[in-house]
Amino acid sequence: MLNFNKIGLGILFIVFLLVGCSSAQDGEKVPVSGEASGESYPNKAIKVIVSYSAGGSSDIGARTLMTYVEKELGVPVVVENKPGAGGWVGWEQLLGEEPDGYTIALINTPNLMTGYMDPAINRSQNLESFDLIANHITDPGVIAVNKDDDRFNSVEDVIEYAKSNPTTTTSTGVVGDDHIASLKLNNKFNTQFNAVHNGGAGESITAVLGGHVDVLFANVGDVTTLYNDKEIKVLAVMDDKRSELLPDVPTLAEEGYEGVVSWSSRGYAAPKGVDAEKLEVLRNAFEKAIKNVEQAKIMNETGLTVNYLNHAEYLEALKMEEEGIKEIKDLLNW
């Protein structure tokens, strides 16, 4: 009997140990150094909600940045993963929290806006619900094809071909950035791109490498390795300027197709209503962490381009993105 109890206790112990490891998020208090709470901010751990699974690109990017933010703030900054609903499980939770400066979240585009712009979902939240902190990463969209595809050697070939033939493109989700970009092209240049929706960039790449889908719509971060190894032909970057990671790839505008840009960006925000002073502390800490050279180098190695925007510039960029989605409302049946 004693034995069995021991086994049971052993199991319980392991359970608590592991759960402790996985979600040691909320309670970690940092001793307040002699001052009453409220006078010094921050005086306890700050929680960052990441609306994507642990181990994904967003999560790894956030966890890396947080080690630098921690140094600036002097308190633990802990990531809590709340995946689901294209990010909105986490964001709804964020907006339900007290705006006390101790809960912030990673927000990313275009999921953030499509989540409240889609009339079928009818969310009451919008950009006004957030206090923005800073933009961290901007990952421009690219158009690429299989290296053995003789039909396409330039983005002009692709667009001219797609004007008279239905052409399949990869997309990592309905009204994701890839899908929106292909619709913008359809809208502007009368192309017939048909998006094949899948579960993620890995699947997109497989589909194009295997020749199952004609054109790869992805982000710079997804294709740098393949580009360096010459496994695919990257034909254009959908940004105002060339990417440092793909120096010899022209922009769409350079190739004569102006007016279509696409990227996904990741930044940080708090729920509306955080004290101005606290926001100032957070914004300064994030600015220093994002501008940290070592941090930027790690991001670059994973194929991501750090693009610091302060909260005002960030708001501007997000509003511009909203406008871009409004342009294609008809094509989305919204």
Binding site: I7, S23, G55, I121, T168, N194
Partner: protein, 502 residues
């Protein structure tokens, strides 16, 4: 032969004391994580990823691969002992593993799994060494239509798992498909059956369904039985090894499982359920007496467990050679490689041979450590079945709740898990088999998305499937198989299928 030279150098690198230590730590830690339902390989590797940042790249990846392997095996332990699959890959192990445990043969089930996993892992590593780069190119021929065909075949094999009545089996399978529909539709972005709940938007998680339907309902049933009856005397624990006559068929299934798992691992985008389901069905097809399946057939544990491990080895080929992660756990490993400054891709073998071969060698060592750890431990684990129910019941319930919660840090998931526990209990009462529900649930999502993807590619022409050699062949075989199995049933109006009893 040059590759063998590299492999030997790799062993030299991996067998340093430090690396051996990290491998050991990874495997043991992984096993404990795997034993907790809910914390599967993906969560395990992801959570421990930050711990490896301070290590040398080789040590870090060795430790992470150890966690991966270890937690896969840990999932098997809970499947066998408490009928609760910790992750999708060990679901099939429940079918025969748990009946074996009830007969007091948990040790054998675990022993055979450990041996099978070891052999499967080794075969996959050999395959990786010999054929890796060549095969990975071929695997790219699998696009959405071929996936659809493969999953369709998996679904058609479900008929074999329908239980005593075809009608009840179909009800179960349709129920499984129905829950697969919940959430945002991948191809249109429309919310289906979510009733405005954001928490339902990304669908119901496999873990919630599996823990509820299997783990919790099993507890309810046992609670009912054992509280009304006098506690039955726990069966005596048998040895770790199969009985005399069982060796041959078991080893044969291990052989088949190794090849099958490896081949499926090569195909990017498959998940680990597919090789286990295919292997289980294959074993049942070739067995002399298929009626033993579901009642504790050793082959039903050996085949899928081997396939599962061979699959994880095979899955490293697309990762190393193409930089394509074929499962969520592999995606975490990919993240780890990148974090440590290594970019997987066709040139990884040329640019970083020391690194790649050290990892491959360490996989082999990890498998060996797993075997050495588990053969003696299997009996210790198996003793859990002898723990009195009143002690075990609260512990298992706690593990299930904590495991489900830790999945997404969400109490909502725990609630859903409880609902499925009650559904599972009711279904068991009316003899509706649970296996088709959960398999249809897992495969249904892939079936739907690959169908829509294929139809987009074919411009809506459904005959397109038959214009491609691989998908055409697989689909034709499946359709013929369905007709052959189902025809007599419709003639007799009810199919008595001596079968998996849950």
């Amino acid at each position: 032969m040059e590759t063998f030279q590299f492999l030997i150098n790799g062993f030299g690198e991996a067998l340093t004391w430090t690396n051996l230590f990290y491998c050991f730590v990874g495997v043991s830690f992984g096993m404990f994580i795997g034993v907790l339902p809910g914390l599967g390989p993906t969560a395990g590797t992801a959570i421990l990823l930050p711990l490896t940042f301070s290590l040398e790249p080789i040590s870090a990846i060795i430790m992470l691969s150890g966690i991966y392997y270890g937690s896969m095996y840990g999932g098997t332990i809970t499947s066998v002992l408490i009928n609760t699959p910790g992750e999708a890959a060990s679901l099939v192990t429940c079918f025969d593993g748990h009946p074996l445990a009830k007969q007091g043969r948990a040790g054998v089930a675990l022993g055979v799994s450990a041996i099978g996993s070891f052999i499967g892992g080794c075969v996959a590593i050999l395959g990786l060494v010999l054929l890796g780069p060549t095969l990975s190119k071929f695997a790219l021929n699998f696009g959405p239509p071929e996936f659809f065909a493969l999953v369709f075949m998996g679904m058609s094999l479900l008929i074999g798992l329908m239980g005593k009545s075809l009608i009840k089996g179909l009800i179960a399978a349709l129920f499984g498909l129905m829950i697969a529909f919940i959430g945002i539709d991948q191809s249109t972005g429309i919310m289906r059956f979510t009733f405005g709940q954001t928490n339902l938007a990304s669908g119901i998680d496999f873990i919630c369904v599996a823990m509820g339907l299997y783990g919790l309902s099993e507890l309810f049933i046992s609670a009912e039985e054992r509280m009304s009856k006098k506690a039955e005397k726990p069966a005596k624990i048998d040895s770790l090894f199969p009985r005399k006559g069982e060796w041959r068929p078991t080893l044969n299934s291990i052989g088949r499982g190794s090849v099958l798992g490896f081949l499926i691992g090569l195909i990017p985008g498959t998940n680990s359920v597919i090789p286990t389901v295919l292997s289980y069905s294959l074993e049942k097809k070739v067995a002399k007496d298929p009626s033993r399946f579901g009642k504790g057939a050793l082959e039903g544990v050996a085949g899928p467990e081997t396939a599962n491990n061979a699959y994880s080895g095979g899955a490293l080929i697309p990762l190393f050679t193409l930089g394509i992660p074929s499962s969520p756990t592999i995606a975490v490993l990919l993240g780890a490689l990148i974090m440590h400054g290594l970019t997987p891709g066709p040139t990884l073998f040329q640019k970083e041979p020391d690194f790649v071969w050290a990892i491959i060698a360490s996989l082999f060592i990890g498998n060996a450590i797993l075997l050495i750890l588990n053969l003696p431990l299997a009996n210790v684990w198996a003793k859990i079945t002898m723990v009195p129910f009143k002690v075990l019941f609260p512990v298992i319930i706690m593990i299930i709740i904590v495991g489900t919660y830790s999945l997404n840090n969400s109490l909502y998931d725990v609630g859903i898990m409880f609902i499925f526990g009650i559904i599972g209990y009711l279904l068991k009462k009316v003899d509706i088999p649970l296996a088709p529900i959960i398999l249809a649930f897992v495969l249904g999502k892939i079936l739907e998305s690959t169908l829509i993807q294929s139809l987009t590619i074919f411009n809506g022409n459904i005959l397109g499937f038959f214009t491609r050699p691989i998908s055409g062949t697989i689909l034709t075989i499946s359709i013929i198989a369905i007709i052959i199995t189902a025809l007599p049933a419709f003639k007799r109006r009810n199919l008595v299928n001596e079968d998996v009893e849950m």
